[in-house]
């Protein structure tokens, strides 16, 4: 049960965003740029970074929904999503993404854990400065989103099918368009 009176029937972050449309707008815009907008990393790769950080933060809603969005971007490969969370070094992803996941995991534990050697390793595997920047910002932003969702005690269903279906919608429409179904019209664009 939520710690404050959030709108009913909206799981996870959707209830919190609908409660405060003013902050919902930039929070949705940030995740849209980081995970859905044009990028040299694929949406699937970026969603895997967000899923992994949410898994490390033990946020059920975020790791479930972003895992579902990642799978939707990756031809429904839910096993790959599970593998990345459990042991990404042995998952079927690029060596560059593995190096970026190392950086993301260190940001999750605290930004000062990221070393020059971690960044050099990613760079040697082809990561650009923008990809490194965005990996750090995805990891930092998801620590915020995860704590926002858990800190308010949001409703987090256990129904995998719900996440799977919603994941397909967000993978297709993105975060800003996808938010129009639950945010007041005036705060969406």
């Amino acid at each position: 049960m939520p710690h404050i009176a959030l709108p009913e029937g909206l799981p996870g972050i959707r209830g919190a965003l609908a409660f405060r449309p003013e902050t919902a707008k930039p929070l949705n815009e940030l995740v849209e740029v980081l995970l859905f907008g044009p990028h040299t990393l694929t949406p699937g790769e970026r969603e895997l970074i967000a899923t992994y950080v949410s898994y490390l933060n033990d946020c059920h809603f975020c790791q479930s929904i972003h895992g579902a969005i990642a799978a939707a971007h990756l031809d429904g490969d839910e096993e790959l999503v599970r593998r990345v969370k459990a042991d990404f070094q042995h998952a079927n992803v690029s060596e560059k993404l593995k190096a970026l996941l190392v950086i993301a995991g260190k940001v999750q534990r605290g930004g000062k854990n990221v070393t020059a050697a971690d960044v050099e390793e990613a760079r040697s595997l082809g990561a650009t400065d923008l990809e490194i920047h965005d990996t750090v910002l995805i990891a930092a932003a998801f620590c915020m989103y995860n704590r926002y969702v858990d800190g308010l005690g949001t409703w987090q269903p256990q129904d995998e099918a719900m996440y799977r279906e919603r994941g397909k919608v967000v993978a297709r429409e993105g975060y800003i368009q996808g938010s129009k179904s639950y945010l007041p019209v005036a705060t969406t664009r």
Binding site: P26, L27, K112, A116, D129
Partner: protein, 83 residues
């Protein structure tokens, strides 16, 4: 020394925000709404929350900028603050 080629001469998050214009506004706006816009408690009363969290993360720049804003009138702090 920054891990990537961030713009020089900007401390802390200012350099990170300047590096990537697409994320600048959405990353900055929540802090502006939460810490600077009219609300209860007043802006000077909310900055200590941000300063306290930053202290627990040992984030020196964030802690100090919040501490400065707490002592300034809200409009002055909003003009000076870059975080």
């Amino acid at each position: 020394m920054p891990q990537i080629a961030l713009p020089e001469g900007r401390p802390g998050i200012g350099a990170g925000l300047a590096f990537c214009p697409e994320t600048t506004d959405p990353a900055r706006e929540p802090a502006h709404i939460l810490l600077h816009e009219p609300g209860i408690p007043a802006a000077a009363g909310r900055e200590p929350i941000a300063a306290y969290v930053s202290l627990r993360y040992s984030a020196c720049v964030c802690r100090r900028i919040c501490a400065v804003r707490r002592r300034l009138p809200a409009t002055e702090a909003g003009r000076r603050g870059q975080g």
